[in-house]
């Protein structure tokens, strides 16, 4: 009997060591007090975030993250996340901001919040060998690859089901580079990923490939992820992003990466902006 009570005591001690007091202060205060903001970036999706030839962690997301931290007036601590943890880490508060090419979806919104507006406007394409696949309809019954962690694993079959009854065979890879390699070797017929990432991963080999049907099939509006129910923090980040778009520092980073002379020149305009017919290409900024 006494032995049992000893076990209970030990177990209680073990559990108590895990328990810690929940903090009541808001994330914005916490970050300011801490003096550092923890930003999660991936490292396998060029040109958004990747490791270059010199071993440096770089990319559009990384530069944007540094700029945001600067505006917040705190130091930046970069945390490596991947396609699976970029949302999970935000939900369990391991990171304060997730800047890792997260396109806004409803199911993600349940776990996290997005700063306004989405900072990069792109979309998912089915990437395939030139002339091999004419339309999305033909993708039925074919092998389609995605990144593990991409919402396309479920969304792509739904999209294809609109045109044909034949179900595609879905495969998921650990990162886009492995997926593109599989595409190049013919292990899959098409790869679904955002347009600018695909162009960057393919690099000079991109000439042999094209988007199926020539168009984006699902919008990928990249949002800056912030933890759920931290509206002070979310507003602050939103305003910083809009300020950056106003004062041109966003444009500078955009030009560095996607401008005509940038690292990965982009033919489409991916800046957050309002519809041209009504607003004449006005940037997506809230008035004061």
């Amino acid at each position: 009997m006494k032995k049992n009570s000893l076990y209970v005591l030990l177990a209680a001690l073990l559990f108590a060591s895990f328990a810690s007091a929940a903090s009541a202060e808001s994330l914005l205060d916490e970050v300011t007090k801490r003096g550092t903001v923890r930003i999660g970036h991936g490292n396998a999706t060029p040109p958004m975030n990747y490791i270059d030839e010199k071993g440096q962690w770089t990319g559009f997301d990384v530069d944007l993250g540094s700029a945001i931290a600067e505006k917040l007036g705190v130091k930046v601590e970069r945390v490596l996340v991947d396609n699976k943890t970029r949302i999970a880490f935000l939900a369990n508060r391991s990171i304060d901001i997730s800047l890792a090419n997260i396109s806004s979806t409803r199911s993600r919104e349940e776990q996290m919040d997005y700063a306004e507006p989405p900072y990069f406007w792109t979309g998912k394409i089915f990437y395939a060998k030139k002339g091999k696949i004419k339309s999305i309809k033909e993708l039925g019954g074919m092998k389609i690859g995605v990144d593990q962690g991409s919402n396309a694993f479920i969304a792509a079959p739904q999209e294809i089901a609109k045109y044909t009854d034949k179900k595609p065979e879905m495969l998921s890879f650990q990162n886009s580079a492995e997926g593109f390699l599989a595409l190049k070797q013919g292990k899959i017929d098409a790869y679904s990923q955002d347009a600018q990432i695909m162009a960057s991963v393919a690099g000079s080999l991109g000439e042999e490939y094209e988007a199926v049907g020539g168009s984006i099939w699902s919008p990928g509006l990249y949002g800056i992820g912030v933890p759920e129910n931290e509206s002070d923090f979310r507003d602050k980040i939103s305003f910083i992003l809009q300020d950056m778009m106003k004062d041109g520092s966003y444009e500078k980073i955009y030009q560095k990466w996607f401008g005509a002379k940038g690292v990965a020149p982009l033919p489409i305009n991916a800046r957050p902006r309002l519809p041209q017919d009504t607003f004449g290409n006005m940037l997506y900024i809230w008035p004061d």
Partner: protein
């Protein structure tokens, strides 16, 4: 072939990445991970391994359970557990450290079995002799039994280091840029260099592992091969508590029959 030499000329990238300007990556990160996890693991391995041969059931069973559970879980699963679960209980750890912890847990369980076999291989008379010379059980274990056991375990440790070094390649899955990931990054930046990148990757692992297994063989020959079967663990005396505990606790435990 020319690509292979081109990549070989790029040896610094495979070895240390952009260090010291950028974080340490490549082969040396594998070595660092293996060294760290083995040394942290060893500390817990001694406790677990000795616990497993304790005569006290309440020490032996939990230790055996820990060892068996970790040993029957795939390393990948252990890594995922620490990667996803640590943040959930509120621990904020750098990715590198969560990998180190996962690998250490894995190493501890496997090394515990080596420690157990090593200690059991030391003749029982050694313990009796040291006890009769007036040493406490803890002293006898620390100064007489363990040093002999460690000497016998040395070849096993070196070959375990070899296997641990190979296992560190698994952490590439959670995004740590060690040699495997380095090779993949190269094949990502230059898709037509995939053969060369893979060959360099294999060469890097092979050189380190081969020298380790060579060292293990040399050591084995020098120290004599450890014969695990020569010792039967049924010799277990009631008064033998291998884990050092405060006297009050020990007394409490021994009176709880």
């Amino acid at each position: 072939m020319e690509f292979f030499f081109e990549q070989l000329a790029n040896w610094k990238y495979y070895l240390i990445g952009g260090y010291p300007e950028a974080p340490l990556t490549g082969l040396s990160l594998n070595i660092v991970l293996a060294l760290l996890s083995i040394s942290i693991g060893l500390f817990f391995a001694v406790i677990l391994g000795l616990g497993r041969i304790s005569c006290r059931r309440y020490i032996r069973y939990p230790c055996s359970a820990c060892i068996d559970i970790v040993r029957s879980t795939p390393l990948l699963m252990i890594i995922f557990w620490f990667y996803f679960f640590l943040p959930v209980i509120g621990a904020k750890l750098h990715l590198f450290w969560s990998a180190v912890i996962a690998l250490s847990v894995y190493a501890a369980a496997y090394q515990a079995e080596i420690v157990r076999a090593g200690v059991l291989a030391v003749p029982m008379g050694q313990m009796e002799a040291s006890l009769s010379s007036g040493m406490s059980r803890f002293q006898a274990m620390a100064f007489i039994i363990l040093p002999q056991a460690f000497k016998m375990m040395l070849p096993s440790f070196v070959s375990f280091f070899n296997s641990m070094f190979k296992s560190t390649s698994t952490v590439y899955i959670i995004g740590i840029v060690e040699l495997t990931r380095t090779g993949i990054i190269i094949s990502q930046l230059k898709p037509n260099r995939i053969f060369a990148a893979y060959a360099c990757m294999a060469l890097g692992f092979w050189i380190v592992c081969y020298s380790l297994s060579f060292a293990a063989q040399k050591l084995e020959r020098k120290l004599g091969i450890l014969d695990y079967e020569s010792y039967k663990p049924e010799i277990c005396r009631d008064d033998l508590i291998l884990i050092p505990l405060p006297k009050a606790v020990k007394k409490y435990l021994t009176t709880q029959k």
